[in-house]
């Protein structure tokens, strides 16, 4: 192979990887409102007896997921700003059944539930603090 072809292949590899990275970054923390009618029972969520009066942030993590740690801090901080919002972090390693039931395809994934356990928002990847607060405020206003 000529040097020029080799350089072209190497450059294309970098370009393709950068494109994938930019797409990944754009999707990170995106909030979706699909499946808002789904109602989660409190007893189906480990570590929760009943949902908080305002909202419950349900985070799905695994122990090998670095962004999950940062997300834990972000959600914990957001929950502590409100008197009636709680945060629970579920390790899917212990509960693969939950990963299947909630169709978790990436970690972290966050569900924001209202007091009745209705899924009001779903965030794939590391959430942005501002969008978490916006979703909480929207739930509290209804």
């Amino acid at each position: 192979m000529t040097a020029i072809s080799a350089v072209l292949i190497v450059v294309s590899l970098v370009v393709v990887s950068t494109t994938i990275g930019l797409l990944f970054r754009a999707r990170q923390g995106r909030v979706t409102h699909r499946g808002v009618e789904t109602i989660v029972k409190a007893q189906d969520v480990p570590g929760v007896e009943r949902f908080a009066a305002g909202a419950t942030l349900v985070q799905f993590s695994t122990k090998v997921c670095a962004p999950c740690r940062a997300t834990h801090t972000v959600l914990e901080a957001a929950a502590s700003e409100y008197a009636n919002v709680s945060h629970v972090d579920i390790d899917l390693t212990q509960r693969p059944d939950i990963a299947k039931r909630f169709r978790v395809m990436q970690t972290p994934t966050t569900l924001i539930l209202d007091s009745k356990g209705r899924v009001r928002a779903r965030i794939g990847g590391a959430p942005r603090p501002a969008s978490v607060r916006a979703e909480i405020d929207r739930i509290l206003a209804t």
Binding site: S5, A6, L13, S17, I90
Partner: protein, 178 residues
């Protein structure tokens, strides 16, 4: 691998008394790995593939790839804290940076080293066996993962781990042996 992460609480944050690492360290290391893998790919493209195992084993791209494989194995077995790139980071890079805003658990990047090791061992074996493009394809896959990790903070290990948990290969039945 120890099971000290096991606890009844679902929390996954770094626990008090547990040593966290600077999250920029593994990303710095992934950057070096990505550059070295690009060199492997370029060298492999420019060198005709040998017809004997010995000839293939002595190709410059393969030799560099073998070094990368050993380093992944080192990180996976000894832990990310004992990786040589971590030592370079602490000696040369960290003193020039501001303090990290948060520390990270060493388990995720150590698992990622294991993923890198599996991919590179596959490439290593395929090339020695003379499988066409075996080295190029695995080096390219490892490059994409290392590049995305370094530049964008993407964690391929997290995705693979989740898939293994969902398929039941890892998880509650094998909670101490991941």
């Amino acid at each position: 691998m120890s099971s000290h992460q096991q606890s009844s609480k679902p929390s996954l944050a770094v626990k008090p008394g547990q040593t966290g690492i600077d999250p920029r360290g593994p990303r710095f290391g992934a950057g070096i790995t990505a550059v070295l893998l690009l060199i492997v790919i370029a060298l492999t493209l420019l060198t005709p593939t040998g017809t004997t195992t010995l000839a293939r084993a002595s190709e410059p791209g393969f030799v560099l790839f073998a070094v990368i494989t050993v380093l992944f194995g080192w990180g996976a077995i000894a832990g990310i804290q004992r990786h040589p790139y971590g030592a370079i980071f602490r000696a040369l890079v960290r003193p020039r940076l501001s303090l990290p805003t948060e520390l990270e658990d060493p388990i995720p990047p150590t698992f990622s080293q294991g993923v890198g090791f599996v991919i590179t061992v596959a490439g290593f074996t395929l090339h020695l066996l003379g499988v066409p493009y075996g080295l190029l394809i695995t080096a390219s896959a490892a490059f994409v993962a290392a590049f995305l990790n370094s530049v964008f903070g993407y964690c391929l290990g997290c995705q693979i781990y989740l898939v293994l948990v969902r398929t039941g290969i890892l998880g509650h039945s094998a909670a101490t042996g991941y």
